[in-house]
Amino acid sequence: MSDRPHPFLIVVAGLVYLFLMLPLVIVVGAALSDTTYLTFPPQGLSLRWFENIFEISAFRRTIVTSLQIAFLGTMIALLIGIPAAYALNRFRIELPKWLGTLFVLPILVPEIVFGFALLKSFTVGTGAPIFLSLLIGHTLIVLPYVVRVISASLASFDFSVEEAAISLGSAPVKTFFTIVLPNIRAGVIAAFILAFITSLNDVSVSLFLTGPGISTLPIQILAHVEQFFDPTVASVSVLLMFLTVAVMAVVERTLGLTFLAK
């Protein structure tokens, strides 16, 4: 359509984007401030609050834990999610419809309820270590993203290509790795990134699955904010934003950014 939206709508959209961007700009500004309290615009530029992150051992430890959990959880989710997504697409007729719904459940059920239930019924019930509970919790909350994104890329995959390979004498398992997987590579990368970031940012599940010595970065940020009102948290936030930008740059390089919108 060649006709433009009404000017009023354009103004509203502009304000909405301003509303979306401005707070993030403010966080960046606050992180660079030389003052001991949070302020914007920054008064005197300094990177000392970034150094401060690494001087507080709780931040150091939780950053490591968060990265470990996000990486391991995502890998496990891919490991069990890719075969599941493959099965859902390849055996669409044979498998019942509720199976697809089952994999959506972890985002359908309130996350905070899931975190609490996992703590009450699993961790306390079995006496399982906190780290293991945390890993299980994170694996499950990212599983829906993995299954959905992989399913979406399998949906556009022509399975007759796989059959062609098998008819040419390739073993089914080998065919999956040599024919199917390379064709859904973009989906796997997208699923990894989406899952990793989701896990890294998670609050509601981690909230219950932290214990002495084990916590994740978002939980540590929450705790820090409630006690101190200094720019450290702003610096951590900026660090996380940088990570997001870096990830988006990787996505842009490999897949094109509009991919994320799907």
Binding site: V16, A87, P110, F114, S121, L140, S204
Partner: protein
């Protein structure tokens, strides 16, 4: 060969491949949540005792209604602004459109804690907004904006508008262009096309978006915790407080059960409605 064909047809391979994920969801999600909900009905005081005591508490019912209210207002605001923004984005020329989509994805990939924290800096007693208002002489004393329902709603809208924009851009782009062109070729003005064609066709998508935002804000924790504090306790913060501060596991389980039932009911009911009125389904 026959055995493989049998495996193919029976879907046993499919079951085998999806088994690990299926068992994980059942074992670590369905059973624990089921156990929590079932536990609330095994109270020595009686089957519904925890629920009776929940609804007898004025404070707790207030929390439930406050949570519903915040979620409803957040949803409505996000719908209105999300739809208008999505409409503009969907009409933007190629390059600008991708840029706008990226600009909506970015906050979405930034954590909820970071995004709530941003509003803490803005709305705080010594925050930017107060400094500005004082500096301009609009107020003589800093306003108490934090720990109000308004603060929580702003934080929630901030959280969910990008989600709404992205899902509605998808919805609007799925409406075939030639249907809109058919409308104007038949003499419908742009406004008539909007009301009589575009909006009715977007309704199922609007419902889906609304459900996403409603359930999301109904169960959010970090934003009400940081921006609402104890004064604006919602179900999620109450659940955490009951479980981790008061160690009232029965009370926490009851809240968990209420949240689950409300969420699932809304999702099922609305997706059923959305499917029924979806004109593009057939």
């Amino acid at each position: 060969m026959t055995s493989r064909r049998f495996w193919r047809r029976s879907g046993a391979t499919g079951w085998a491949l999806s088994a690990p994920a299926t068992l994980a969801v059942i074992g670590f999600l369905l059973i624990p949540i089921g156990a929590v909900i079932a536990g609330t009905f095994m109270d020595p005081r009686g089957v519904f005792a925890p629920y009776i005591s929940y609804f007898n508490s004025g404070f707790r019912t207030t929390v439930l209604f406050r949570t519903l209210q915040i979620a409803a207002i957040t949803t409505i605001i996000s719908l209105i602004f999300g739809f208008m923004t999505a409409y503009v984005v969907s009409r933007a020329p190629g390059k600008l459109k991708s840029l706008l989509i990226v600009a909506a994805v970015f906050p979405l990939l930034t954590g909820v804690v970071v995004r709530a924290f941003a509003w803490l800096i803005i709305l705080g007693r010594n925050g930017i907004l107060n400094q500005t208002l004082l500096g301009l002489g609009i107020t003589s004393e800093p306003l108490e904006m934090l720990y109000t329902q308004g603060a929580v709603i702003i934080g929630m809208v901030y959280l969910f508008v990008p989600l709404m924009v992205l899902s509605l851009v998808g919805v609007l782009e799925n409406i075939p262009k030639d249907v809109l062109q058919a409308s104007s070729s038949l003499g419908a003005s742009p406004l008539a096309t909007f009301w009589q064609v575009l909006l009715p066709l977007a309704v199922p998508g609007l419902i889906v978006g609304a459900v996403l935002v409603f359930t999301g804000s109904f169960t959010a924790y970090a934003t009400p915790q940081l921006l609402g504090g104890e004064r604006q306790t919602v179900l999620a913060t109450l659940l955490h407080q009951r479980a981790m501060v008061s160690f009232d596991w029965v009370g926490a389980s009851t809240i968990a059960a209420i949240m689950t039932v409300i969420t699932i009911t809304i999702v099922l009911a609305m997706s059923h409605i959305a499917r029924r009125i979806n004109p593009m389904a057939t």
